[in-house]
């Protein structure tokens, strides 16, 4: 099972595949370096095409991954904690910080998506097709959630009558107008998306654990800086 590459969170590597062709061809190759163990078909192209021989995500992709991982987990936790707090200065602060962080995550995710679409991730490690599919599906869904969660939160804030002022300085536009009922629906949608994101992250982490502990295929190294 290994699910997939999680650590490369490249979300999308390719169920679709504009990007993948290269990745596919490269796939067999990559393993040789890192995961000798269970590689089913290392034989063929070992170390094959150098052009395709990328075994790690590039530096910026890694930076996006880790910075956003921390930001998302932190913002999710704050959101969870603050939601039921009674009215207080702390609640007010946390809500605003949460919103600022959410908009920051949204902006970084947009840049990350552009980077991802223009930079091919390393090829998949050898693994059964359904695992590859699962890995890429989770990656794509994670990307969808990177947008769905903050956008629904932003709309919720607007509908509740509290426009977001980014870092207390930059007023952001309201896509929806103040409306109590709409705010309640958007609140639930935001919560739904956030929990969905949480589940995707758990699936992603579970796959990493599987690759690290069971497969020992070096998958995690794809998302860690280090010597080639």
């Amino acid at each position: 099972m290994s699910t997939m590459d999680q650590q490369n969170n490249d979300p999308d590597q390719q169920p679709t595949l504009p990007v993948d062709p290269a990745a596919l061809s490269a796939a067999p190759v990559a393993p040789t370096a890192t995961a000798p163990a269970s590689v089913p078909m290392p034989a063929a192209p070992v170390q094959a095409s150098p052009a395709v021989g990328k075994t790690r995500y590039d530096g910026l992709a890694m930076a996006f991954h880790w910075v956003l991982a921390i930001a998302i987990i932190g913002t999710f936790s704050v959101g969870w904690y603050m939601a039921d707090l009674p009215f207080s200065l702390t609640r007010l602060k946390l809500f605003n910080w949460h919103k600022w962080a959410g908009v920051t995550i949204l902006a970084l995710s947009a840049l990350r998506l552009l980077w991802r679409l223009s930079h091919r991730p390393p090829a998949d490690l050898p693994m059964p097709g359904w695992q590859k599919f699962g890995a890429h599906a989770v990656h794509w869904l994670l990307y969808a959630a990177f947008f769905a969660v903050p956008l629904s939160g932003w709309a919720y804030s607007s509908a509740a009558g509290f426009p977001i002022v980014w870092f207390g300085v930059l007023p952001l536009p309201d896509f929806v107008s103040k409306d109590k009922e709409l705010a309640e629906s958007l609140k639930q949608l935001h919560q739904f998306f956030a929990y969905g994101l949480g589940l995707l992250v758990l699936a992603h982490l579970g796959a990493v654990v599987k690759h690290v502990v069971l497969d020992k295929d070096g998958l995690l190294r794809r998302m860690l800086p280090g010597r080639a």
Partner: protein, 210 residues
């Protein structure tokens, strides 16, 4: 804002007109008195029309503008626009009627850190001088009292008249901490700004013509 006012005014004009039509002759005697004092030397006592009036405030919370208003307030006026200096205006505002449209926050506003409505339930404004600036514009100086704190404020007011209703609009800035609004940890103006903008629109019946 002006569009809304215009709507209000025309609605007022319409209702006054239709009232006059419906009431017809017999009641003319009753409707007239309001206008009659206009001619008198002493300023007439005007009456607030609450349904068409509004006292609103705006402040910033970590940069986010928050609008609220008071649902209950009253005004006493003895004011002739042609003899503004002799006029007197006083307002009383029920602080417990403040709302920003968020129940949790509204419930907080009445507490001791904010308006402390149990101790002093109303805020008042009492004019000390009214100056005519011409063109329906006036400047009212007076004492604003909230939560036991009294400060002098100068309030610009513009009057317009239509269909027997006089509408007074204006706005002024105040500092919430001058009135101890937001005590304890809420004194932190980086969270809730000190500046509060107050806007009002008072619809009045029985004010003499401009």
């Amino acid at each position: 804002m002006t569009a809304r006012m215009a709507t209000h005014l025309s609605i007022t004009a319409l209702s006054v007109l239709s009232a006059a039509l419906f009431l017809a002759a017999p009641s003319m005697a009753q409707t007239k008195p309001a206008a009659a004092p206009a001619a008198a030397a002493a300023p007439a006592a005007a009456k607030l029309l609450p349904a068409q009036s509004d006292i609103a405030f705006t402040f910033r919370q970590m940069g986010v503008p928050v609008d609220g208003h008071f649902k209950k307030f009253d005004a006493q006026l003895a004011f002739d626009p042609k003899n503004a200096a002799a006029g007197k205006v006083s307002l009383s505002i029920e602080l417990g009627s403040a709302t920003i449209g968020d129940a949790a926050t509204d419930a907080e506003l009445v507490k001791p850190d904010w308006f402390d409505t149990k101790k002093i339930p109303t805020a008042t404004f009492q004019s000390t001088a009214i100056k005519a600036l011409g063109g329906g514009k006036f400047e009212a100086t007076g004492k604003l009292s909230i939560k036991g704190q009294v400060k002098d404020v100068v309030v610009p007011v513009a009057l317009t008249q239509a269909g027997g209703t006089t509408t007074a609009v204006g706005s002024f800035a105040m500092k919430r901490l001058d009135f101890k609004i937001g005590e304890g940890e809420w004194k932190d103006t980086s969270i809730v700004a000190n500046d509060v903008q107050v806007k009002f629109k008072l619809a009045l019946a029985g004010v003499a013509p401009l």
